[in-house]
């Protein structure tokens, strides 16, 4: 700082350590709990010295929570949401910034009106949509009397009910969360800062639109993509309400949802050591992504939301 303030500096460190303590305590406590046998974890207060039951608890959690399947589902969902969002929004932003066509403004407004609407506020109708993706087509089908046409073609009475359900499927877990105006907005802002000369030069060299996208825009967007990968992976992994609704089959559910079953209830054995071990396993992937990609994470967080 500007002047020497030894007392204040000491206080700063003390408060900072206190703050870090508050932030890190829950996880530290969970780690210790996960290493203890049942009789020690249910002692009040629990001993603060780690035990040697860590692997036993991890194995119990893995088997009881069916974590293998659920972690796999979580990876598919988080990966699918991340990849889907980035591909869809990057192409969309490219179309809006680098092309001029009749419905450009309409497309732009359509996408950006959804900027802040989280899935939580529209769960019920979105759920209905996902349970039958062809629902909106059915009135049109009926209106055009296509049943009569189908009956005529088949030669006997036919009633067609259009149905394509996304319940209990990876597509259902991923697709409704892929729509994101925020990513498109971020890419649009970024594309607008790219010098005009690059595009002019590429065109002069005879590059087509897709060549320009692949050879110039994509490499330039690398850091933005990395930042979004971190943010969206964490977002996808930590989804709760949507996977809770759309999956009923325990084989299709995600790890964060599955944890609920391991929380000891009033009549159960208080196996908090197993519950904490499971919680640690499930939180590990997104935490590792954030820690190892810290630089991009901070950049992505500050730029995406702002």
């Amino acid at each position: 700082m500007v002047e020497k303030t030894p007392i204040l500096d000491t206080l700063t460190y003390v408060f900072l350590m206190l703050g870090i303590g508050i932030v890190c305590f829950p996880i530290l406590y969970a780690i210790i709990a996960a290493t203890l046998p049942l009789d020690q974890v249910s002692r009040v207060p629990m001993p603060m010295i780690p035990g040697n039951q860590f692997w036993v608890n991890i194995q119990a959690a893995w088997a009881r929570g069916n974590l293998g399947t659920q972690l796999f589902n979580s990876f598919i969902m988080a990966g699918g949401i991340t990849a889907g969002k980035i591909v869809v929004s990057m192409l969309g932003a490219y179309s809006i910034v680098y092309f001029d066509y009749r419905f450009r403004t309409v497309a732009f407004v359509t996408v950006f009106c959804t900027l802040m609407l989280p899935v939580e506020v529209r769960i019920l109708p979105t759920y209905e949509m996902a349970s039958n993706l062809l629902g909106p087509v059915q009135p049109l089908w009926n209106f055009l009397h296509l049943n009569a046409l189908a009956s005529w073609i088949a030669g006997h009475h036919v009633k067609v009910t259009l149905e394509l359900s996304l319940l209990d499927s990876y597509a259902g877990l991923i697709l409704p969360l892929v729509a994101s105006a925020t990513c498109t907005f971020l890419f649009r802002q970024f594309f607008l800062t790219i010098p005009e000369e690059l595009c002019e030069a590429a065109k002069m060299d005879g590059a087509s639109a897709m060549t320009f996208f692949r050879k110039i825009l994509l490499p330039l967007s690398k850091t933005n993509i990395a930042a979004l990968v971190v943010i969206e992976f964490v977002y996808g992994w930590n989804q709760y309400l949507w996977p809770l609704l759309i999956t009923t089959n325990p084989k299709m559910t995600t790890a964060v949802i599955g944890l609920q079953n391991l929380i000891p209830q009033a009549d159960d054995l208080p196996e908090w050591n197993v519950a904490m071990a499971a919680a640690l396993i499930v939180m590990l992937p997104p935490v590792l992504v954030v820690l190892f990609m810290q630089r991009w994470f901070v950049k992505g967080l500050v730029e995406r939301d702002k």
Binding site: V2, T12, F15, L16, G19, I20, V23, C24, P26, I27, Y29, M46, V88, L91, G92, S95, Y98, F99, D100, Y101, A107, T110, V111, L115, M116, L117, E120, V121, R122, I123, L124, P125, M129, A130, V178, A179, E196, C199, E200, S208, A209, N238, Y240, L244, L245, V256, L259, Q260, A266, W272, A279, V282, V287, V289, V290, L291, Q294, F297, L301, V302
Partner: protein
């Protein structure tokens, strides 16, 4: 806005924007429209009979004491959550900004809870605050003399979900406040110091006013977080109980729609939430536009 130098193609731009429009239409616009229609319908739980009743669902909603109670709970809950996480995040960021050693290590220790799912944060705090096994619960009982029991006492349960929700949001606020503080020109702080302003005075007279756009933004994001993303915390920790004491609006939509099967009312509640978030977004954009004049 568009580039000066653009590509000419009839079909390609539509193909590029196509997927986005398709997903947006299928999972935003169609459901939103359905929601509006459904909010004006009364249907039996089996979906066999639908009757159009205009705004009866809404008037029923706002005369329902349970819904009004849920509004009050949501406001208390999000106010307490935002206040706790913002003040702690700001305080820790202000401390971290004064430190020059081990910066990366300090930042690393403070940002990782952002990656923890709200539901998992709920489980961690459920254990810490468990009336029979929790260590913090024990401390509250012993040192504060409170008969802590979130399983039976509504206020205790609300305090528990506030702690679980605020904890992981401290990291988020910390990142933004620290970034905001580091973007304040050092010359301003030095000039004030030369004029004899103490570190506290400098914080209140220079850092805080220049940080106000960040503070406003973070407040909006925290309110949105505590309104919607905390569903996971409520569902794992209290499930709206005891006696509806933690039944926040977003949880009530789920409970009435998917468990109570009162589709009309649930849809009406969704519309109320949607309107609310649209208002917040518009306000935020208006403020962000204005903000430009404050920057130096």
């Amino acid at each position: 806005m568009i580039k000066r130098s653009i590509f000419k193609s009839k079909l390609l731009p539509y193909l590029l924007i196509g997927p986005q429009i398709l997903v947006t239409a299928a999972f935003f616009y169609w459901p939103a429209a359905q929601g509006v229609v459904q909010s004006m319908m009364r249907s039996d739980p089996f979906g066999l009979h639908n009757r159009f009743i205009w705004f009866d669902n809404f008037s029923a909603l706002f005369s329902d004491p349970l819904y009004l109670k849920s509004i009050a709970i949501t406001l208390t809950f999000s106010g307490a959550t935002a206040l706790t996480s913002i003040s702690l995040g700001l305080f820790i960021a202000a401390m971290a900004n004064r430190v020059f050693k081990a910066k990366t290590a300090i930042r690393t220790l403070l940002i990782w809870p952002y990656a923890v799912a709200p539901a998992i944060s709920g489980i961690l705090w459920l254990f810490l605050l468990h009336p029979s096994y929790g260590i913090i619960a024990l401390a509250i009982k012993r040192w504060l003399g409170v008969n802590w029991n979130p399983v039976l006492n509504g206020n205790d349960a609300l305090a528990m979900v506030v702690m679980a929700s605020a904890w992981k949001e401290i990291s988020y606020n910390f990142v933004f406040f620290l970034a905001g503080m580091q973007s304040i020109p050092h010359s301003l702080i030095e000039a004030a110091a030369m004029d004899g302003a103490s570190p506290f005075r400098r914080f209140w007279a220079i850092t805080m006013p220049l940080l106000s756009p960040t503070l406003f933004f973070v407040t909006v994001m925290n309110i949105i977080y505590s309104f919607f993303d905390t569903f996971g915390v409520i569902h794992t920790v209290t499930q709206g109980g005891p006696g509806g004491a933690t039944n926040i609006l977003v949880y009530k939509v789920y409970q009435d729609g998917f468990i109570g099967l009162n589709l009309g009312s649930s849809a009406a509640q969704s519309i109320v939430l949607m309107t609310l978030i649209i208002i917040i977004t518009v306000l935020q954009f208006k403020y962000v536009e204005k903000k430009v004049h404050y920057t130096i």
